[in-house]
């Protein structure tokens, strides 16, 4: 796809700018690119579907849309081996702990796509006593895909946006994580308590 065909170009540009602000070593930068390329092109989604969106997700894997083309081929059933948690369908209060547990069981790096309007705001079930009104209340979400349910093409667009986003990440060139964690804990003493 051409750059002009995408939306949200500014957002990705801004991410790149922020990353480049501190500058990157040539070797490390290239390594980073290689790793990001690997990660972006081999996103294995976890089979996770609760309702209608899951059927469209199945369509995505079937003959006409065939997500294998982009490297989403292997839908893993075990969260340990998946990279992408695609939340297909409404999350209810009873399901929320299960979803959190799945997310925690996944190995880093992990990404989350919220599919369908239920996950954005509660969608048709807004105001319900047992539907989580928006997935951001539970998880950090990378990409939102609107629709009820979204068409497979829309799902593609969202998944490819995620690929673009991953390509702007930094693995080696960034600040030392341990250092960062120390700073963070110094600012947030309550989190440090929790870690102990």
């Amino acid at each position: 796809m051409k750059r002009d065909d995408w939306k949200d170009n500014e957002y990705i540009d801004q991410l790149v700018e922020e990353l480049n602000a501190s500058g990157a070593n040539v070797v490390v930068g290239t390594l980073d690119k290689l790793i990001n390329w690997g990660r972006a092109n081999s996103l294995w989604p976890l089979c996770f579907g609760t309702s209608c969106c899951a059927i469209e997700f199945m369509h995505l894997g079937a003959a006409r849309h065939d997500m294998a083309r982009f490297g989403f081929e292997v839908t893993r059933n075990s969260p340990r081996q998946a990279d992408l948690l695609m939340v297909n369908g409404t999350i209810t209060y009873r399901m929320a702990p299960v979803l959190m547990r799945l997310y925690e069981q996944m190995a880093e790096p992990k990404y989350v796509i919220a599919t369908g309007s239920c996950n954005i705001s509660g969608g048709p079930f807004i105001g319900s006593h047992c539907v989580v009104q928006g997935l951001d209340k539970l998880l950090p979400v990378d990409v939102w895909i609107p629709g009820c349910p979204p068409r497979p093409e829309a799902m593609y667009y969202g998944m490819m946006q995620l690929q673009r986003k991953i390509m702007t990440q930094k693995y080696f060139g960034g600040v030392n994580r341990q250092e960062k964690l120390k700073d963070f804990l110094a600012e947030h003493p309550e989190e440090a308590e929790g870690l102990k």
């Binding site: 990660r39 081999s42 003959a63 065939d66 081996q81 990279d83 190995a107």
Partner: protein
Amino acid sequence: MFDFSIVTGWLHNWLLGFMPEWLTTTVECVLIGVLMIVAYAVLAMVYIFYERKLCAWMQCRLGPTRVGPWGLFQLFADVFKMLIKEIIRLENIDRFLFALAPYLVIVASMLTFACLPWGNGLQIIDFNIGVFFMVAASSIGVLGILLAGWSSNNKYTLIGAMRSGAQMVSYELSVGLSILTIVVLAGTMSITELVEAQSDGWFLFKGHIPAFIAFVIYLIAANAETNRGPFDMPEAEHELTAGYHTEYSGMHFGFFYLAEYLNLFIVSGIASLLFLGGWMPLHVPGWDGFNAVMDYIPSIVWFIGKALFVTFLLMWFRWSYPRVRIDQMLKLEWKYLMPIGLFNLILMTLVVMYDLHF
């Protein structure tokens, strides 16, 4: 037919020219080890790609197309990702066994891998009980799977491991019997001699009926040995999520994944060695011109080509058949395949005794 032992012999002599004997051996061992690991990894990737494309073709899909030309780099992306994926540290498990299991699986398949005759003079291990060693080495793999299932402290993995134990131990018999049938026909266990014996026709043709029965039994049993559909019960995706490797992440899972595909190559390789002449080109006695033309195709191409063909058959099974149930699978082995295999062995003995083969 080009003999690769010329190359290896030249290399050996060249090294001996400026090194003592012990150092030469060491250098050669290291060299072979590195080459083997590289070949192992590359072959596994080729196989994964092959399966994806083949399965896509059977399912009216396209398979990987976007990453690199025709999706060729898809596998490299997968490997890069898997290498840097987190390996989760689990609580309440037997850590030592948990970490050991994938390596056992990999080592078992590498040991078997080393026995394969790649081409004329291209073989790593070759001794007089080659086939026997191959069968013995390949059965270490089941230990790795059992350990993986047991040490994960998870009910799914445990059920997967139990199934796997039952399955692999049973089907080992059928594999053994069909290999034995061919050994009876050839009168040798040495891999080189097995291949040489097929220079005037492959065993599948020479041994006619009993060899064909053995080939079919071998294909079924080998499919079960590699835990692939319709016998993929140990990892039965839709029953046990991912079976014995449910709890593995990152490269540990990658090892299982690679080993699965390499085992596929190994069983296809053994099938081509035993039934389709190994690296031996297709020779028809009497057709000298045809035989000469066939000899121009390098032996390594023959071997890999045959292995890919057998793999194609196995993948065809996998992508068309539903999965069998554990009791039905054991019934198939103990009530049908093994008796038929035993009978077939007697038949082959008779054929050899009365010299009824070609």
